[in-house]
């Protein structure tokens, strides 16, 4: 199969248990979304690892770049006051 004919790539997310978030587990090639769901079932939940599957076109995922992490996240680094531990309370009332 030439690369032009290659099937589309899908990212697969599994919800392992009701109440939990779907978690990314891997990807696979499929003709369309429905087929991707069936493949995902066969590939990623053979041991009943999940109660629900999501498949998403890989090309639809927009990602931040790790090389940009510094400028992307830098503004957060000097704000320790966003954390509860920044506020030191006396032991008598420290359980809040």
């Amino acid at each position: 199969m030439s690369s032009e004919q290659q099937l589309k790539l899908f990212e697969v997310f599994v919800r392992s248990k009701r109440g939990l978030d779907h978690k990314h587990v891997g990807s696979l090639h499929a003709e369309d979304a429905e087929q991707a769901l069936e493949y995902a079932r066969d590939c990623y939940t053979r041991r009943s690892e999940g109660v629900s599957l999501w498949v998403v076109n890989s090309s639809d995922i927009v990602s931040s770049q790790e090389e940009d992490a510094e400028s992307f996240y830098d503004p957060m680094d000097d704000k320790p006051y966003r954390h509860a531990t920044h506020y030191q309370l006396p032991d008598a009332v420290n359980n809040m």
Partner: protein, 317 residues
């Protein structure tokens, strides 16, 4: 795409069995229409509270006494905007749009926590809000981490993690005032006097009078009753008041040795009804301000849409 093979009654039985088994309900599951409506009401009310709650605190950002307090307050108010976003998005998984939710807020069909209809008159109020208002919200929200609707429960987990800084920064700033000059201590006491009862009202009417309680408990949307939550809040807060050296504005407050809990005076339910029904000190201001901010932000949304369609045209060309 989802097709259900069972009839309505069987679906409802299966739904309740799932809830009883402490399993979460997820967006694509079948659910009774009243469960969906009830959730939309409660979750959007919660989202509106986060967003309207930014107003009394925002009122003091430019007047915070130090740069540190200003940065802290700014960070807290920013968090509340974020909480509203988590909650609006979770509500939208129930098939309602953001526009519909905002419209219901603007025309008064949707409510928000009545406490945000009280004014923040002094700097000490900012400490009292973080300590008491966020404190009361946390007591409620901790139980909602176990609510039956998955997206709501998960947003509560995230919110609770962020809330604890809100309460601690408020209490920390009250420690400073309570140990300051006599005027500062009086300011702290005054703030406690004004915020105490409205904070207790945040838990809603007595269980017997609560319109939605019984059904919400059966569906495990609510996990603890209004009175249980209120009592838990009082019991945890009394030692904190004592530590500050302040006095709770309730002459009937008394430790009950037998119950291992505080007995307290009756709330002013007439005031509660008045504020809920639109006649609190700031109800009109809060909604007017929200409408104004929403209208003034329209050009940003217009610009985003124009940019998006221009990009699409360029791509098509």
């Amino acid at each position: 795409m989802t097709q259900f093979k069972l009839n309505e009654q069987q679906l409802e039985a299966a739904f309740q069995a799932r809830v009883d088994a402490e399993q979460k309900i997820e967006p694509k599951d079948w659910m009774p229409e009243t469960y969906r409506k009830n959730l939309i009401r409660q979750m959007s009310q919660h989202a509106h509270s986060e967003v309207i709650g930014m107003q009394p605190e925002g009122n003091w950002i430019s007047r915070a006494p130090t740069l540190r307090r200003k940065m802290v307050l700014l960070a807290k108010v920013q968090d509340e905007g974020g909480h509203a976003l988590y909650l609006y998005s979770a509500t939208e998984t129930l098939g309602v749009t953001r526009d519909e939710l905002i419209e219901a807020l603007h025309d008064g069909r949707a409510k928000y926590a009545s406490i945000f209809n009280y004014p923040s008159l002094s700097w000490a109020d900012i400490g009292a809000i973080g300590w008491l208002v966020d404190g009361a919200a946390i007591v409620n929200q901790i139980t909602l981490q176990r609510t039956s609707y998955g997206p709501y429960a998960r947003s509560m987990v995230r919110i609770c993690k962020e809330e604890s800084f809100h309460q601690r920064q408020g209490y920390e700033s009250l420690i400073v005032l309570a140990n300051g000059s006599p005027e500062q201590k009086a300011m702290a006491q005054d703030a406690l006097n004004r915020w105490w009862w409205p904070a207790l009202m945040m838990f809603g009417p007595h269980d017997a009078e609560s319109a939605h309680s019984a059904q919400s408990m059966k569906w495990k949307i609510k996990r603890k009753s209004n009175d249980e939550l209120r009592q838990a809040f009082i019991d945890q807060t009394m030692p904190q008041i004592e530590f500050l050296g302040l006095t709770v504005p309730d002459p009937d407050m008394k430790w009950n040795e037998q119950r291992g809990s505080y007995d307290h005076g009756e709330l002013d339910w007439d005031e509660f009804q008045r504020v809920i029904n639109g006649d609190g000190p700031c109800n009109r201001d809060r909604i007017e301000h929200h409408k104004k901010a929403h209208a003034e932000g329209e050009w940003v949304r217009d610009a985003l849409r124009a940019y998006e369609s221009k990009k699409r045209q360029r791509l098509a060309a």
